[in-house]
Symmetry: C2
Subunit: 270 residues, 2 copies
């Protein structure tokens, strides 16, 4: 059996985890992803050895109870070892194979996979400058991702309002303006080859498309889907790049079915 | 003459640049920082060869005029090469020594300096997992930094309101809760040795202390300095860590005078 090089615990499906699974596929790195739908994670033990608990298990784990934060309600069962490896207590939560080193934030989990690459894929650049330029794009994407998280949680909780919508639109416009400008000069975001910047871009745009599930709430405030509106109008290169990336054989195993499901309006977490 | 390994163009002084200058000092990497006070940058050519322009120069550079974005007003002079290297058009803006590769976002500029390190400092970890754990802390710090940027720009523009204050406080509390938890187990944020996570933490907290310059506006909404309030109350380990880092001989050349100046209430950009 091939030894897993990284274990990730997360709610699923999660386009932010696709950043890592796509990278792992390209670099041929064996990784393991554990998890379940968001509401089922309430009955999981949050640990390196994360697993669903029986009713008896749940009674025994009282000392682990933590108040849930953003995106969850009620109580969660997080071990001390989990919180030591993951001081923010969040998922996705990745671990080194011995469970000792915790890696958090989906961009950085993806970075871990890329750093394990011995195939010279160039996904994380070829020198200190190109690697750090890729990180710059990951950083600006993270700033957008923060806003889109607020937007999607508002939709999920049936609490969308105009302010949240327009804040997210502004963040999307700012993010894509840089991507669009970068794609004027190159075939890929960071250079003329595929890098983590492209993988991150594709998965964050896919995540934003989750908004399809709540199109009625968006129509109610007199607006359209952000992912269609902003891109089709002003960012043709970004849209074209997204389509090209999504269709790649190393992306589509993660992207294709998920995208079809959300575009059909199907609720993915029910 | 020692050859510069990275050139950074920025308004100055800028605690976010201290991330790079501290890293460069520890690793003994020669870097160059160019720039001036924010309002003077309006008369600079924004380029790899950034420099202040004379009145005649300004007339000749009309084709470079760009509408200023966040933090600036009026017009800025950005060359095509600048915008190609920096698709978001922002400062701080770093360049490889040949000017061809642009690196943006202060955390990623710091990463570039650390990647140039050949001294085995361990500042960026020792393996794929520890390096990516450091990146996770840089990412959570970036999410706070985005909020503190909004807060400081509001103070600077005399537009502080309660919403901005409390949003920033919430982000600060979330950020420091993870730092505080991490410092329960280790002497430094990421492990038992100094890493980029500590340098980034220290410089972002220093930047937040810039609020001292506008203490009247903060008092006017019935509040206290965020940097004092949140830390002293609930985050004693974080405060202690900040003090210890600031006093280090490899940090203090950047930190000491700047901190004294802002704590005295002196306006640093006038």
């Amino acid at each position: 059996m091939t030894k897993t090089k990284l274990r990730i615990f997360s709610y699923q499906p999660n386009p932010r985890i696709f950043k890592s699974t796509i990278t792992a596929r390209i670099c041929n790195i064996p990784i393991e992803v554990r998890g379940a739908k968001p509401k089922e994670l309430k009955n999981w033990l949050w640990d390196f050895d994360a697993h669903p608990m029986s009713k008896d298990d749940l009674k025994d784990q009282k000392e682990y109870i933590q108040k849930a934060k953003a995106g969850y309600q009620g109580e969660l069962y997080k071990t001390e070892a989990f919180l030591s490896a993951h001081p923010y207590g969040t998922v996705p939560a990745a671990f080194s194979p011995d469970g000792k080193i915790g890696v958090f934030e989906s961009n950085s989990i993806m970075r871990a996979v890329a750093r394990l690459d011995k195939s010279n894929s160039g996904l994380y650049g070829h020198d200190p400058y190109s690697a750090s330029r890729i990180d710059g794009f990951l950083d600006t994407t993270l700033l957008f991702a923060r806003e889109s998280q607020i937007y999607l949680l508002a939709l999920m909780a049936d609490k969308l309002n105009e302010k949240v919508y327009y804040d997210t639109e502004r963040a999307l416009t700012n993010w894509l303006s840089g991507i669009e400008s970068a794609l004027t000069n190159n075939n890929f975001i960071c250079s003329d080859a595929l890098t983590l910047a492209d993988i991150c871009f594709c998965c964050e745009l896919l995540l934003l498309q989750s908004e399809h599930q709540w199109i009625e709430a968006i129509t109610e405030i007199g607006e359209k889907l952000l992912s269609s509106k902003a891109i089709e109008d002003r960012f043709p290169r970004s849209l074209n790049h997204y389509e090209k990336l999504s269709a790649r054989t190393d992306f589509s195993p993660d992207i294709k079915d998920h995208r079809a499901k959300i575009k059909s309006g199907q609720k993915i977490y029910d």
